[in-house]
Symmetry: D2
Subunit: 336 residues, 4 copies
Amino acid sequence: MNTFGHIFKIQIFGESHGDSVGVVIDGCPPGISINEDDFKHDLLRRKSGAKGTTSRKEDDKPQIISGIHNNYSTGAPITILFKNTNTRSSDYNFRNHPRPGHADFVTDKKFISFNDDRGGGHFSGRLTVGLVAAGVIAKKIISDINITAKLTEAGGNTNITDAVDKALKTGDSIGGIIECSVTNVPVGLGEPFFDSVESLISHAIFSIPGVKAIEFGSGFEAAIMKGSEHNDLIINESGTTKTNNAGGINGGITNGNDIFFRVAVKPTSSISLPQETFNFESGKPEKLEIKGRHDTCFALRIPVIIEAVTACVLADLMMIDNTKKYDIQRSKKTGI
Amino acid sequence: MNTFGHIFKIQIFGESHGDSVGVVIDGCPPGISINEDDFKHDLLRRKSGAKGTTSRKEDDKPQIISGIHNNYSTGAPITILFKNTNTRSSDYNFRNHPRPGHADFVTDKKFISFNDDRGGGHFSGRLTVGLVAAGVIAKKIISDINITAKLTEAGGNTNITDAVDKALKTGDSIGGIIECSVTNVPVGLGEPFFDSVESLISHAIFSIPGVKAIEFGSGFEAAIMKGSEHNDLIINESGTTKTNNAGGINGGITNGNDIFFRVAVKPTSSISLPQETFNFESGKPEKLEIKGRHDTCFALRIPVIIEAVTACVLADLMMIDNTKKYDIQRSKKTGI
Amino acid sequence: MNTFGHIFKIQIFGESHGDSVGVVIDGCPPGISINEDDFKHDLLRRKSGAKGTTSRKEDDKPQIISGIHNNYSTGAPITILFKNTNTRSSDYNFRNHPRPGHADFVTDKKFISFNDDRGGGHFSGRLTVGLVAAGVIAKKIISDINITAKLTEAGGNTNITDAVDKALKTGDSIGGIIECSVTNVPVGLGEPFFDSVESLISHAIFSIPGVKAIEFGSGFEAAIMKGSEHNDLIINESGTTKTNNAGGINGGITNGNDIFFRVAVKPTSSISLPQETFNFESGKPEKLEIKGRHDTCFALRIPVIIEAVTACVLADLMMIDNTKKYDIQRSKKTGI
Amino acid sequence: MNTFGHIFKIQIFGESHGDSVGVVIDGCPPGISINEDDFKHDLLRRKSGAKGTTSRKEDDKPQIISGIHNNYSTGAPITILFKNTNTRSSDYNFRNHPRPGHADFVTDKKFISFNDDRGGGHFSGRLTVGLVAAGVIAKKIISDINITAKLTEAGGNTNITDAVDKALKTGDSIGGIIECSVTNVPVGLGEPFFDSVESLISHAIFSIPGVKAIEFGSGFEAAIMKGSEHNDLIINESGTTKTNNAGGINGGITNGNDIFFRVAVKPTSSISLPQETFNFESGKPEKLEIKGRHDTCFALRIPVIIEAVTACVLADLMMIDNTKKYDIQRSKKTGI
């Protein structure tokens, strides 16, 4: 249940403070030019380091283990590892007094205390480095399509630097809103019903830790619009619409206009301020102070991850769309 | 790509004006008591008939074709058919001048004009009758869990009757907001990363025609809260939290508190008012008047569908959770 | 677990003495010409009626419920039903004294006695009518490829009529060997490792009731050949080989030579001769005489089913192969 | 397409002469005791070294990268790597004159010459080391079941040492027959139709390079038996049968008797003797002498791999069987 995709399939693995984290990408076509430098830009965007992000520093150097030869994809599964080097597990031990807002309590129950809880173990933002790596490859497959996500608000404020500064000073944390636009999208991606474009994108986006909401096009606003306002009028042969309330998707299928969606990211759960929690050993509430290193606003690091999983969805959909391609020729000849 | 679920799997099929629509449910355990009457209540809730819903009347009588014997599930695939009886296809012919907000344009392109376009064909709310039927069975599998969805706003108004009346008079349409609460949820459902509870529920919800947004717990509001406000404090041994900003889900896993989410449904695309569209034959814009029968506010019919797909997701997750159950005994003996 | 295929996916359902049996085919490309007559030939080949086959007569008329419009596939799921008309359930009641060689005992245990046991219920050769229907459509998708299966031996005898006659007279049953050749196969179908062509074909073939063995190319004979004898020498640019010990498959991938495999079908389990079994009510062994209607040599009816599932596998593989097609152009330009 | 399994899922990756080969195992329950020593025995059985196996020596030390903590499975994906240390790629270069019996020709075509062809690349027996590792874990999950595979014939000879010696002297290669017995199998594993036990086992077995045939129970022999001979008579309440012609499987479901199957492995394709092949550069046939290191009889190394994939299939089926377990209690109460 750690895999995603039908044809372009990703499997992620690893723990925050284990040996490594990584990703296996199955189904990548052969002949895609890929080298280690290609990953740099996006990995850097995900990386901590800016004000408001954790002081844990990982060099995030991708080790390509399989599936790439002479700088081209071979058609076999691509495996990419990222060693964990900068771990400080002594900071962590929350099994008996779980951190509010974290997965400590649920993972202890689900995995009957066998889960690796160092640094959140498998339930860590660290795992998203593999998603970004997969996204780099997916973006190459759908090279004509452009995906751009950016943080437009942090803590309700469009001046993001200010908002982060203020939160840093108080020892508290803030969340944010990320907007994602996809341009130059072909008409017809997406499958009827369960594999609608919204279904697949939301599935992927909600697997990013901390995401709590998504809306496509006019989104929640649509609920208060009239049909006459919300309907996007087609104005030319390419299907361009006058407005884009649908966010580029009708009936779950891309209509050729820009895909647009907004995502809400919650504030980081780990904060420096003391909080109350329940101690499962003593059976009583207690005060908790989280040491460790954490992001004041991890939403800063999410845009590139959103781009990555969106690229994975679209690469998969384009490849699925191709499954029918050879028949088009025949169909055109025989069709009604 | 019309299937959903890992173990409790649903496959829907059919067209709005074809012979029938229906569903195959694979993976239902044997011994679940099911008879035709069990479907009545939920099918009635989905059915048109109230003010603001279409005048197309289908009797929605489920025909159980397989998988149920002597009123119990047998363990073999369950197939349920719903005949289409009340179809008026002459109302429909939009291939050359697609209706704004509809899938007419994209399906014509995607299926190179071979799609059945009568009444929207496969891209019709009619298909959701199969989802509701699957939901009835899923609810029986997770019988200790209660799922309640209701329309809380239509056209931005909490007085829903008024809002619908007003829209009806103008020939326009309105959307709405649906809230869904799930109570008595066990701790530990959901799988790490790609099969987070939010991922699976959103995947299923966005396959319902007309849904454009979803938020869990405090949702978009989370983006403007501080960590100290958003974190839900655990107050007892069961993991009950003081607040429920997480919507009952941490790290993608249920925490035993109520699952809560809100869904935005757009206004019905078909409206009586004349609209502009593009005529692909003449190559020019033209005025379009949609006759047919349609809902003024199809959001009225969505709550039971939301309950149904949520039940399907939870039934699947509970069955997956069981895959590990027999090991718990052994693990407890051998464990650290 | 009643589905098969990645892109061209089939789901079968139904019970031998229930309302109907049928199949849903998801992933069929739009624009394939299909009408009810297209099914006649293959359904007739599967049908009982010849000497040595059961006297149960079903008209096997396919009812196309969805996915086909104006005699072309639409791209939406295709559902085909076959009504059961000629059922005599009173012949059947084997829960307490299971028939030797049948699934009576295992299904009663697996489905904790809730399984529909009339005529074998879901575990019946009747279900294969849906496979044949799916095969008719698959054959159209891979129309350049020819698949031919035939019964070459019955009861160890190449004079099949004689063998059947003899068995009929004694009240016993016989099995047989079916050989299948696939010609005009493109090079390169199949996926590395788990989706090797042999893996997928054998998976599909062993889902046909009564199959107990399969061998590709020289098969079991290969185990006694030397490498210098078994290796097929390539003799021209198309990859034609001098011999075909590999059965057209190297490393799990088609090599362009004919795919060839042989299948062993066991003798029909239901025989007129009295047999011993265990009575689970009395807790004692007892004599059992099976009335009902059954095939003396159901292997007679299997060739067309083998063709059908082989066609489904190849259609799926061709569509998967297409997922990479659009990249070939680019790769050729950029490649090493 | 390099993944296998529904719940207990394995994904293999790597190339013969690349950095490493390995496996990701998703869906392993938490609390299984696993340490590096557990892998030794089975890895050693697979390893080359005996007479008749290649002189390439890999230390086959498993590196556990994720999913195991304090010597117990955590419930997160388990990743195991095996470094390639002893590679001699200069021996290999067969793109233009493919080795008879190898995948050289098909992989070059399928992957449009982008495949890593060093040592067969992804199409190498080296990949099976990951299968064996997965098998070690699967065997622990199904610890009450015993799986034993052994080579019973090589080159048609039951005196295996002799047969290998003789082949070694001539520079030729031989294949063999492997028999596999599974004891203490619960009744009821396997799913109707497509996920029959034979379907899943054969799917997995044919993904092992070099396997060309499989038969269950009396297998090909069944085709010449009469029903009265082939039917296995049930002789007691546990469902024990007098004979085991079915190989422990009826209707695709385990019947509690031993699962038994036989597998044919072809002779190694690489032989020291000169062979003819086609040179795609010159467009002419030519003589080929294969240097490299290879097994005279790689069938010697296959039994443990057969056990491993069989264990993976059965672990998956047992976990799927559990999905229905909690309902049994309820069903028993409410059932007819």
